[in-house]
Symmetry: C2
Subunit: 241 residues, 2 copies
């Protein structure tokens, strides 16, 4: 937790630009007291969800809660990536880590999309419930020192999404699909918006790649090595931006 | 498993350039039969550990083992990264994934190094036993379609390693230490060997960074976002090479 991220429920009162917040949940309480070893008077880097970043000074620390006062809320989050990321729905056990990773890296628009190689049962996982997604995104934001919550969209039908909604979504961005069996290397350091599609385990099937290409996507490859999705995401984003 | 990786123990006999192998372990057996759904006569991409890559044709499939014949062993692994990677020893639960990731990405020299912020108990984890490391490296190679086993070195004392061994190890490579609190951005697309040091959770302490700098390292940053080590590694390697 490189940033203490406070939500509306934590915030208590405003006095001009000063806010107080009470941290009552076990996860943050024990992280702040045990890992940071923070004491009354200490200041921690803190931000308000979808708001500014400053310092949280500890006013009181009981065995129930931490009362903090927010000061110098004058910083903003690091710039978001100019990216819309479309991922073939990964297997459930990978989801928590992927939500964290995209939030840490600054992705703000994530579309999890069905595909031929996505097992139908994956859509039933509790990790896709709103609360569960939110929890992991918060962890990722705390890691990346960012307060701006990403939006996650669940797209259970591939074809109507690609044909009816994707063209608008792409807009003027560069649309790329990561596909191991193509020749064009992933471009580097693009200074423009990107819509990036990454297949599920085993990749998009040729029919799906063709449909993406017909709707404006260019296939690109990361080379001979086939990466797991949680490795491919930071690898792709580091290269593109 | 994008490549069936065969070891000496699997190989049975040679007939000129042809080899046979028996796959008897549950992990590979069930992956090949259940996930690939392979049958007698099918060919799978296969390689010999530290050797060439070709095809494995299934000759027999019993409920005990898969007998394959290796053909066209004429391909080589994707190029290794010209990199020596030094990592502050991560917490044990991250180790399995990190060994897999570095093997998939083509790192061949990994030094896990002690640092002030590494908890002493981490060195006791069973995940650092030779067999445990080997197992995860194999999984990573199978993912990345590579047969060349990385070397993992455990360095339990920071100072003598940095002062006495590191200068030789660096040689003529570019020596970089990833450090969040510096100005210089990580260079892109270096076409030369790199020695890269990445701190443990919480980073190297200033004393350690100073010692690395005195021994030839340049601090570089990935920006304002602080990445977990398993995200930072693909991110750094994608940018550097």
């Amino acid at each position: 937790m490189n940033l203490v991220l406070l939500t509306e429920q934590d915030l208590e009162s405003s006095h001009g630009n000063l806010w107080r917040a009470r941290i009552r949940d076990v996860r943050r309480y024990s992280h702040i007291t045990r890992i940071h070893g923070a004491k009354v008077g200490d200041s921690l880097k803190a931000g308000i969800l979808n708001g500014p970043i400053g310092q949280a000074q500890i006013l009181q620390l009981t065995d129930q809660e931490i009362l903090v006062e927010l000061n110098n809320l004058e910083l903003v989050s690091p710039p978001a990536l100019p990216l819309t990321l479309m991922l073939g729905l990964p297997r459930p056990k990978m989801l928590k880590r992927i939500f964290q990773t995209i939030a840490t890296l600054g992705v703000k628009q994530l579309y999890l999309i069905n595909s031929y190689r996505v097992e139908k049962s994956y859509w039933q996982t509790p990790f896709l419930q709103d609360d569960a997604i939110h929890e992991q995104l918060i962890l990722g934001l705390e890691q990346g020192c960012d307060t701006q919550l990403p939006e996650v969209h669940l797209i259970k039908r591939f074809k109507p999404f690609v044909e009816d909604h994707l063209p608008d979504l792409i807009g003027h961005s560069r649309a790329l699909v990561a596909h191991p069996y193509t020749e064009a290397p992933c471009p580097r350091e693009l200074n423009k918006p990107v819509t990036l599609a990454v297949g599920p385990e085993g990749g998009f099937i040729p029919y799906e790649v063709d449909m993406l290409v017909r709707n404006g996507f260019t296939p690109i490859t990361l080379g001979q090595r086939i990466l797991r999705v949680e490795t491919a995401i930071p690898f792709l984003l580091s290269r593109l931006f």
